[in-house]
Symmetry: C2
Subunit: 635 residues, 2 copies
């Protein structure tokens, strides 16, 4: 019976967290499964996945160089952890299911290939031969394929489902692009026009296609038009037509296709999840059910044992509340229909509405209940208290804007006022309530203020003892000081609604963070292989040869060198990420593409076009779809 309970708890827990792992039902396997889902095991897995990804920071080309031996040991450690996790999973799940699941095969393949690659690279290194660490491409596989990353896999599935339709629109868009390029070649090709840089204008078909693709992203508008426009004003019509058709209509069409599929896919996923949740709850019910009259039910005692197992942190009162809902007629048992709802009930965050007594009211009732204390609490609860501190924040904003000194006397006054405010609030309101899970702003305030206090004191100590201002600490103090002002937003009802929408979508945005991380990792590693060392950054006033051309004479007179973009290169993992971020923002991407094409070869532009298609046309559009949908649901 205890084993049935444990198994049922596993089913309910899976239903609650929307997990879908076909685990074995033997007592030992169920116990292993509970361990497998323990939050510490999951956190550890994530930790090693990110450690493995961040190794790129320490391997050549390194941001912070570590000896090869150190990174190798770390990598082997990560791979062993992954293998351990996978072995654990193999013991939990059914054998034929395990071997049929592409995810597991992927992970095993990736571990094996990584070890092989590491071995070969190490041996070759001993003999002084430098080879490519190609297995580094496979590191994002661990982020995608471990059972924990369901959300990322779901997003990837959504992208895969969208691909056929995207492809058709993309082909039509390419057709339009090629037609317009052909027109441009015929219209401008024989005019002997020159660009602002004095280069030939629109002579070569492939270059025209690239220039017009860049125009679709608007990045070279209006430069690409000016030579033709200067020649004859009527030619502006060609570019207007081009922008309307390609930038406005086709790019909106991409968003429409992605959004349409996103909605459709979301609906299907939700339906599937609901079905699975119900099935798991019914399995749990069947394990615990007993006959009662004409129906099967779960008796109160067992039900309570189950809830204690599934949600050990819930208070007695909360459990009683759940029971009251599930057994609303107080018959001493829960029927099937009510039992199935348990998974959803457990997910509802119960705001304890009952007014807890303040701890001080228990420890020092006479003092806490005295007239001055009650007056104080009355003042803090009064609206004027909020208004006073809103006024103080506004005055603080003026001080920050005007203040020329690094840390002034006024700053201490404001910090003291904010600390007093928080103490008064904690004195007035029940502390556990004040720092409840949903009290985002209270947490925000307190963290910001105490971080600022700590940093300011630290800085003052450093200054008085060592007569030294730490720039990093000062920067953090500045940022914290400005962040404090955000609080004013929470005082205005309409802004609260929008802010809450924004705060609620943060968790799902992490999925996009993961997706972006995967795409960035892959492109960063390819980019480093292709472009590493081709472009160098020299500090201002450097005497190095070609310092003004980013160390590469091929960049002489290029927009890249003229814009002083040299630090945007693929020389290490961190730089690559920043370049990719700038490419995601799109502006000036053609300057980057041309520069890296100049220092390697023209086909390098394909790398930048591929990144634009994957990141901007697909992932950013999915992000926008997600914001649209989240907004419609929340608002």
């Amino acid at each position: 019976a205890a084993q049935d309970l444990l198994l049922a708890a596993a089913f309910v827990s899976d239903a609650q967290y929307n997990r879908n792992i076909p685990f074995r039902t033997s007592p030992e396997a169920v116990r292993l499964y509970h361990l497998y889902n323990h939050w510490m095991m999951r956190t550890a897995t994530y930790f090693f996945i990110f450690l493995n990804l961040s190794l790129a920071l320490f391997e050549e080309p390194a941001v912070y160089p570590l000896p090869f031996l150190a990174t190798s040991v770390l990598e082997v450690l990560c791979l062993l952890v992954f293998l351990g996790r996978l072995t654990h999973f193999a013991h939990v799940t059914l054998h034929n299911v395990f071997w049929k699941d592409a995810k597991n095969i992927c992970i095993m393949g990736a571990i094996l290939l990584s070890l092989t690659d590491l071995g070969i690279y190490g041996v070759l290194r001993l003999y002084g031969v430098r080879s490519i660490r190609w297995s580094r491409f496979m590191r994002p596989i661990f982020l995608i394929n471990f059972a924990e990353s369901r959300q990322i896999r779901r997003a990837l599935r959504s992208i895969r489902n969208t691909l056929p339709e995207i492809t058709y629109v993309f082909l039509l868009f390419m057709f339009s692009l090629l037609m317009f390029s052909l027109m441009a070649l015929k219209l401008f090709g024989e005019r002997n026009l020159q660009t602002a840089e004095g280069l030939p204008y629109f002579r070569n078909y492939l270059e025209i296609v690239f220039d017009l693709y860049v125009l679709v992203t608007t990045a070279n508008s209006p430069d690409v038009m000016m030579p033709a426009f200067d020649f004859s004003s009527w030619y502006a019509l060609f570019f207007i037509a081009f922008v309307i058709v390609n930038t406005y209509i086709f790019m909106s069409l991409f968003l429409a296709v992605v959004y349409n599929n996103y909605k459709k896919h979301l609906k299907n996923e939700i339906r599937k999840l609901a079905y699975m949740k119900r099935r798991k709850m019914i399995e749990a019910f069947n394990l615990l059910k007993e006959e009662e009259g004409e129906q099967f039910v779960v008796r109160e005692a067992r039900w309570k044992q189950l809830v204690k197992l599934v949600a050990p942190d819930t208070s007695n009162s909360h459990r009683e509340l759940l029971l009251r809902i599930s057994d609303d007629e107080q018959k001493g048992f829960v029927d099937k229909k009510s039992f199935v709802q348990l998974a959803d009930l457990l997910n509802i965050q119960v705001v304890t509405l009952k007014i807890r007594r303040h701890p001080l009211a228990r420890w020092a009732p006479a003092l806490y209940g005295s007239a001055p204390s009650r007056l104080l609490r009355g003042l803090v609860r009064h609206r004027a208290f909020v208004w006073t501190f809103d006024a103080i924040i506004l005055i603080n904003a003026v001080f920050i804007a005007l203040d020329e000194d690094s840390i002034s006397y006024a700053e201490w006054v404001f910090l003291a006022l904010y600390v007093i405010e928080i103490l008064l609030k904690v004195y007035t309101y029940e502390p556990r309530e004040f720092f409840g899970k949903t009290q985002f702003w209270n947490w925000f305030d307190t963290l910001i203020i105490f971080a600022a206090l700590t940093a300011t004191i630290l800085n003052a100590t450093l200054q008085s003892t060592m007569r030294y201002n730490s720039q990093q600490i000062l920067d953090i103090v500045f940022i914290l000081r400005v962040l404090r002002l955000i609080r004013i937003v929470d005082s205005i009802q309409r802004f609260q609604v929008i802010m809450n929408t924004l705060i609620n979508i943060v968790p799902t945005m992490l999925t996009f963070g993961g997706l972006t991380l995967v795409v960035y990792c892959v492109f960063a590693i390819i980019g480093m292989e292709l472009f590493h060392g081709k472009i160098q950054y020299f500090p201002a006033n450097s005497n190095a040869p070609h310092a003004l051309e980013c160390g590469n004479p091929a960049l002489k007179d290029s927009l890249f060198a003229r814009g002083k973009y040299c630090k945007n290169n693929f020389n290490n993992f961190a730089s690559s990420f920043i370049v990719l971020m700038e490419l995601t923002v799109v502006n000036q991407w053609h300057v980057f593409a041309s520069a890296f094409a100049n220092v390697t070869g023209q086909p390098a532009k394909l790398y930048f076009i591929a990144f634009h298609i994957v990141m901007v046309i697909i992932i950013v559009n999915i992000f926008v779809s997600f914001i649209l949908e989240a907004f419609f649901v929340e608002y």
Copy 2:
């Protein structure tokens, strides 16, 4: 009875075209109302509205200068036409309705003010005083307020309804912008950094706000980040956070708000239209109804008279079909329920499915029915015929791409082939069917081919008689030649679907054309008043002073002059439109804003920010919403 019929026809016609004009029901007024809605009257009104708007091309500062007298006479003519149209409307509608309608008051006010302004300007001109033609701002009022522009007014209403919510999001966005600017001032203000142009970097709060607003539009990425990034790589995090919060989240939020309201508004409008349509049809029914047994009905004869009046162009067979639907049990009358549906029935385009006999089959049956003729028609109907011509188009594409001569021998061959194709198709298929209203591609082909044929022959004639190649004609020939290739798209089923979606949304896109025209007109006229003559364009190799600085020493070393943007100015109406188009595309808009601020004053930047907010944040987002919605409905 004849008058009742006329009145009922007016109601039905209003219901069919979703008009909502409360006209008087006296016989004379109804006749005037029919005249008022005549397509020639409406076309004439539009003609004069656009003539009035295009006067800006001929008035100082003129693209094509005309004497002041000529433009004044034209303007007075337009105003008289507007007055006439309004008087006509006043005779049609009820007096109290007419005077309560803000639209009519607006038009009258605009006419009066325009005449006054024209008078004052003319008199001052006689005395040699130049004043501002401020009434030109009011010209778009005619486009908005005449009863014909319901769609544009609906879009404007939708914008007005969206404004409060947009404003809240905008305020929050501005708050975020100001906070980030304050942080930037604190972090970078005292570092003594310089931009790539050697100017001080992030020293002045207002300049930081502008620079970061530009970064929201991505237009100065990554330039705005580079000095800080060169100083310390960690500062890139500030800009990444800024872009994620402001560019990705807030800009998507604007789209979400606009789209949400657009959908809501659309639903309301459709509900209102359906209600009005029904009410008008019931009014028409009540005029024509007769008692039949226990219910009121409209008898067949009257019903036919009505349809003849409302839709005089429909054929007898079409009318019979409509009757068959409305009186499906052939009782000789139409009941109320069926009668109400008439307005929708009239809007359905009936594709005549019956196979009409080819005219040649009637005129020369022996020839048309002969074996060779039947074989020929069989060939044309065969799939291989389509494939052959697809292949020809592909070969043609290669020829166009490779062909260096202006018009070659091959071009004549291709033109001949295409003409033969069209003739064969017209020989095989019934011509009226082939050129049916919904046969977009047949029309497209025929027009393109015959235009190309005409232009090519014209060019050949000019060349052989006057040994002269007209560049304009050649350009048109080039464009037509490439457009021909679009046909290939129609051969692929999947592309057809997307293309049909695109073709179907063209009519509604005209509404956005109108809306854009209104916004552009207003901003162009303001722009010309503010910036006229400040920036000049000189052809290459000009000897004029400051030719390289667009005639204005204030632009020395500016990005504007360096990018050779001088022709982008507000010196006339056409140039202004092109500048506004480039501002709509957003890229490099800050270069324009800074240049025009340098030659006038820093507050000029507000003009550009205002245009960005109105055009990009509001109207382009409505356009995207519209494409999204149209796509979901069509696809």
